[in-house]
């Protein structure tokens, strides 16, 4: 029996004349992600992209998992391919669904018929297939409301498909259809989630990490690489630009007012991130900031830190509670890495009583004690770019 994956496209089908751009992008993404798993033919029709294995060696489990992590796909069905006649549909359904049907008592059959030339209507197909399954598997009971299993039959142009229901996909828009963003990736819980959220909206990701050796460890840097690697499962190939940040931090500590340490550090980070973003052809910065989570994320502090860049700063986690962020971090697989106990640059010189209502002019006064341009230039000289995925 030949299996296939039916990937249902999400909101991209609502796009107008440029819809094909979104579809092309999605198919390209599918091609690249599935290339490592096996030999698949990928073709689109209506609002569905078909992923067809070309030989018996393709790992369908891995392909299904990969498709569920591709943005732009709202649902994935793993189905068996049937000839377009009711006898073949019935026989394949009974055989293909033997295992899932053996585990349930109640079921129903739902049919979609996009090829209206097929001689039976959808309800007729459902009845026919359902009746046959009940004959073959005597333990089954048809139940229209909340059955344990919904058998899906789809009659399309070339073939009909039978599956044991659909699994939710990643949703969103295909990667690369919404520009490129530079994610400030720290190693904590929030920033990978923020990156993922923007990638879900079709944004291609690049990452920047501030490295304060010896105040932070090589393990902390590796942790950031590991987080970026997990993001590539969703957002595809990325880079991490590592910015040497030690000198800037010690300068701030030696010259600035303690309650402004974190704030000025973050202003320096934003400046550098923007420089790196311009260099890497990104159109915005992405941060994991969540309103009032810590002192540097009050609305006043966000204003003072954001004031140094003219690029848009996207903060997708801004209105989220920590628990909501953690739920996403667990779902996307970054949580276990994020909670490894390595210190990141944000906690190196934390003031005892950080300023929660900073003023921009005071921050600028404090900064005037530093040679900001020289420090930025020095850091930009020492960039290290690592490609991941």
């Amino acid at each position: 029996m030949k299996e296939i994956l039916l990937c249902k496209c999400g909101e991209l089908v609502l796009k107008g004349l440029n819809r094909h751009k979104f579809e092309d992008r999605l198919q390209k993404t599918l091609y690249w992600r599935l290339k490592k798993i096996g030999n698949f033919r990928i073709h689109g029709c209506q609002s569905t992209v078909y992923v067809e294995p070309q030989d018996g060696e393709a790992d369908m489990d891995a392909a299904l998992e990969a498709c569920r992590k591709i943005f732009g796909i709202v649902a994935v069905a793993r189905a068996v391919v049937c000839e377009k006649n009711i006898e073949d549909i019935k026989a394949k359904a009974a055989e293909y669904l033997r295992e899932p049907l053996s585990r349930v008592r109640t079921y129903k059959v739902e049919t979609r018929r996009s090829d209206k030339r097929f001689p039976m209507t959808s309800p007729e197909i459902s009845r026919e297939v359902g009746g046959y399954l009940s004959d073959v598997y005597e333990h089954l009971q048809a139940q229209m409301d909340e059955p344990q299993l919904t058998v899906k039959v789809e009659v399309r142009e070339e073939y009909a498909y039978v599956s044991a229901g659909v699994l939710p996909g990643a949703g969103g828009l295909p990667t690369g259809t919404s520009g490129r963003g530079m994610l400030l990736l720290s190693g904590g819980i929030d920033s990978p989630v923020a990156g993922w959220m923007m990638a879900k909206r079709g944004m291609e990701l690049e990452c920047v990490h501030f490295f304060s050796y010896p105040f932070t460890s090589l393990e902390a840097k590796q942790k950031v690489m590991d987080l970026a690697e997990i993001l590539t499962h969703w957002a595809g190939r990325t880079t991490v630009t590592v910015v040497p940040f030690t000198h800037i931090q010690t300068e701030i500590r030696d010259k600035c007012r303690e309650d402004y340490f974190t704030l000025i550090m973050r202003r320096m980070m934003m400046r550098l991130a923007q420089r790196v973003a311009e260099k890497r052809d990104c159109q915005c910065l992405i941060t994991g900031e969540s309103l009032a989570q810590v002192a540097s994320q009050t609305v006043q502090a966000l204003g003072v830190t954001g004031a140094v860049c003219d690029m848009p700063v996207l903060r997708p986690a801004i209105g989220m509670d920590k628990e909501e962020i953690v739920t996403i971090a667990r779902r996307i697989g970054t949580m276990d890495v994020s909670i490894l106990p390595y210190e990141d640059c944000c906690t190196v010189f934390t003031p005892k009583h950080p300023q929660t209502k900073p003023a921009r002019d005071k921050a600028e006064d404090e900064e005037s004690k530093l040679d900001v341009d020289a420090l930025i230039d020095e850091a930009m000289q020492g960039l290290e770019v690592v490609t991941i995925g």
Binding site: Y213, P214, F215, T250, P341, Y342
Partner: protein, 370 residues
């Protein structure tokens, strides 16, 4: 140039130990086999047991080879608790024990045992009076380390045994001798069970021993072919055992000379660190090989990285507790900043004097970062 100053974490394998391990790999027979190859392995096992026993000062049959300190401690504590459960359900130990002890006691606590952990004094020592006050007539087991792995404090074994005689004479006294063996004289006559590790004295990792006094038997942790008199089943790890014996022979033969040398280095290190303004977290009459110190500012892990980049290897707290606050220094009620900045420098008899100079010099440089 590399200076390894983390000998409490593990030591370099002594040349004699390496040679003995290689010999045992060439002579690979199973000591349980009846043929000549087995007999030769059996002889080596017998000689090795003699050597470790001689270094400790006991008879060979009192020694059981194990996979290391943790297994010895687990065997002793779990076995003693089982054996003595009719005496009472109370165990006394200290807050500064190694995790091998603390976590085994935690497991016993979950089985319904009542555990009292005696706090240390602020200088890291444990007062005999505090131990005496913790003992009860229903105390079935007392476990204490001979030397604290983080501070080098020497614990009052003899006084503890004396107090036990008066209050709970039937309690079993286990000593974690991992950091004490070949570093300080161990008063074996007041101990019921004692755990040893090979890789802290120049042997191989994955190797240790458990001493049990004459007349004491404990139920084993590992069942099987009844090797080691049924105390510890599993084919004997001959290369490790032979290396352990060789290391013990070497270390015990030069005990006085080695401890004198390490004491001199230790004094120099303490004086140098004090001159840099560090606080010394090691008590005055500690073991010869461990110094724990806290620079006024900064964090251990940063110092460790900076020193490591200069080829100087030390640890913060203990090597097993990477990234966690030291439970020992916290129990000593040291100020939080001293706990955060603490460094443990640990020596071996081969440590060159210039290593101390290099460390002090590197430390002084690193302190400028903060």
């Amino acid at each position: 140039m590399e200076y390894y100053l983390d000998n409490a974490a593990t030591t370099a394998v002594l040349p004699a130990a390496r040679q003995a391990a290689e010999g045992a790999m060439d002579e690979f027979g199973n000591p349980g086999s009846l043929h000549a190859a087995g007999r030769r392995a059996r002889q080596l096992l017998c000689d090795s047991r003699e050597a470790v026993a001689a270094a400790l000062g006991c008879r060979a049959e009192r020694i059981t080879f194990t996979s290391g300190g943790s297994e010895s401690i687990n065997t002793a504590l779990m076995g003693a608790a089982f054996k003595n459960k009719h005496v009472g359900r109370h165990i006394v130990s200290t807050q500064i024990e190694h995790d091998a002890t603390l976590n085994t006691l935690k497991a016993l606590k979950n089985q319904g045992w009542d555990i009292t952990l005696v706090p240390p004094e602020t200088d890291g020592t444990v007062s005999p009076a505090a131990v005496g006050a913790a003992l009860r007539p229903d105390t079935a087991l007392v476990s204490m380390m001979a030397v604290c792995n983080e501070t080098g404090a020497v614990l009052p074994l003899e006084e503890t045994k004396a107090a036990m005689e008066g209050i709970c004479p039937r309690a079993i006294f286990h000593v974690d001798g991992v950091q004490g063996f070949c570093k300080i004289p161990l008063p074996l006559d007041c101990v019921d069970a004692l755990s040893l590790s090979a890789h802290k004295i120049g042997g191989l990792k994955g190797s240790g021993a458990l001493y049990l006094r004459e007349g004491l038997t404990l139920p084993p942790l590992i069942y099987g072919g009844n090797q080691e008199n049924g105390m510890r089943s599993g084919t004997e790890a001959m290369p490790q055992i032979a290396a352990f014996a060789a290391a013990a022979r070497d270390r015990s033969a030069h005990f006085d000379e080695h401890t004198a040398r390490m004491n001199a280095l230790r004094d120099k290190l303490i004086a140098g660190a004090r001159a840099l303004g560090c606080d010394i977290n090691t008590p005055a009459h500690g073991a010869p090989h461990i110094v724990n110190l806290s620079p006024k500012k900064g964090r251990s892990e940063v110092y460790i990285r900076v020193l490591s980049d200069r080829g100087i290897y030390v640890s913060g707290g203990s090597a097993c507790a990477r990234g966690k606050k030291s439970h020992v220094l916290t129990a000593m009620r040291l100020p939080g900043k001293n706990v955060d900045a603490a460094l443990r420098v640990s020596l071996c008899p081969e440590t060159p004097e210039e290593a101390i100079d290099a460390f002090l010099c590197g430390l002084e440089e690193a302190m400028k970062l903060f």
